[in-house]
């Protein structure tokens, strides 16, 4: 039987890798992929707790997170296409027209 802590440590490392990816990468597509990594880390936490606490609620919530992740990816990519059409770049630090 694998202890619950192993799953929590795996999810924490995966979440922080995704967080670093969001902070450091310039390409907007890679930033979106890093957000998917963070959402998957949360999913691992939910399923691990549901398994060890004999519950079904965590597994249900993973469905809703997947729904929101799909919606977020679709909207994010549409915004990216629109921004690329208007500015000609996909780098997050060059799309800075609202910067003071």
């Amino acid at each position: 039987m694998i202890p619950l802590h192993y799953y929590l440590i795996l999810a924490a490392i995966l979440f922080i890798i995704g967080m670093i990816g969001v902070l450091v990468r310039r390409n907007f597509l890679t930033v979106l992929m890093s957000i998917e990594l963070m959402l998957n880390a949360v999913n691992i936490n939910f399923v691990a707790f549901a398994h060890y606490m004999d519950s079904m609620t965590g597994r249900i919530f993973v469905f809703f997170i997947m729904t929101v992740a799909a919606a977020e990816a679709a909207i994010g990519l549409a915004i990216l296409i629109s921004a690329y059409r208007n500015t000609g770049t996909t780098f997050v630090d060059e799309i800075s027209s609202m910067k003071g």
Binding site: Y7, I13, G21, L23, T30, E36, M56
Partner: protein, 168 residues
């Protein structure tokens, strides 16, 4: 024993390919590394006795979201000669390492206790994984289910409106 070996295999591949997602220069390589990560997360779900979620993970993430990302990637045709990282990369990596240490410390000192639910492994196996999830989803969580369908509808309309060409 074999479960332990499988867990460490899945965990190692997840962490290494997640690192490849954020350090590969070519965004297409990042997408393929993300695919490997997502499929191995489905393996973790199977270890956690959630076979239906593993199937949904492969269908939704590896099937839908990743195909959408690769489609946009080829549509935009980003050149490979560019600066990869933002200016705040050093402080971001430093904060990430500090945060890993903090989280590992908190997890190692915390004791996880709580009341057990009534879905033990034996009960889920006797009822069937998919049946158990479906019964809960359509009784106790019916309202969030409807809200999720509204979210998908809004995302569909929003994506069409945002990506449409402006009328001249």
């Amino acid at each position: 024993m074999i479960l332990n070996l499988l867990f460490f295999y899945f965990a190692a591949v997840i962490v290494i390919s997640a690192l490849f997602v954020i350090i590969k220069r070519n965004a297409f390589h990042s997408a393929v590394a993300l695919l490997v990560t997502l499929i191995h997360i489905a393996g973790i779900f199977i270890l956690l006795n959630s076979e239906f979620l593993a199937a949904v993970q492969i269908l939704v993430y590896a099937g839908a979201i990743l195909v959408m990302i690769i489609f946009v990637l080829m549509f935009l045709n980003v050149t490979q000669r560019y600066r990869m990282f933002n200016r705040q990369k050093f402080i971001a990596f430093l904060m990430g390492i500090i945060l890993v240490g903090e989280v590992l410390y908190v997890i190692s000192v915390s004791a996880i206790k709580g009341p057990k639910g009534d879905f033990s492994i034996a009960k889920i196996m006797s009822e069937g994984n998919t049946q158990a999830i479906g019964r809960i989803l359509y009784t106790d969580y019916l309202f969030p289910f409807e809200v999720a369908s509204i979210i998908l509808l809004v995302a569909m309309i929003g994506a069409i409106v945002l990506a449409k060409k402006e009328p001249q």
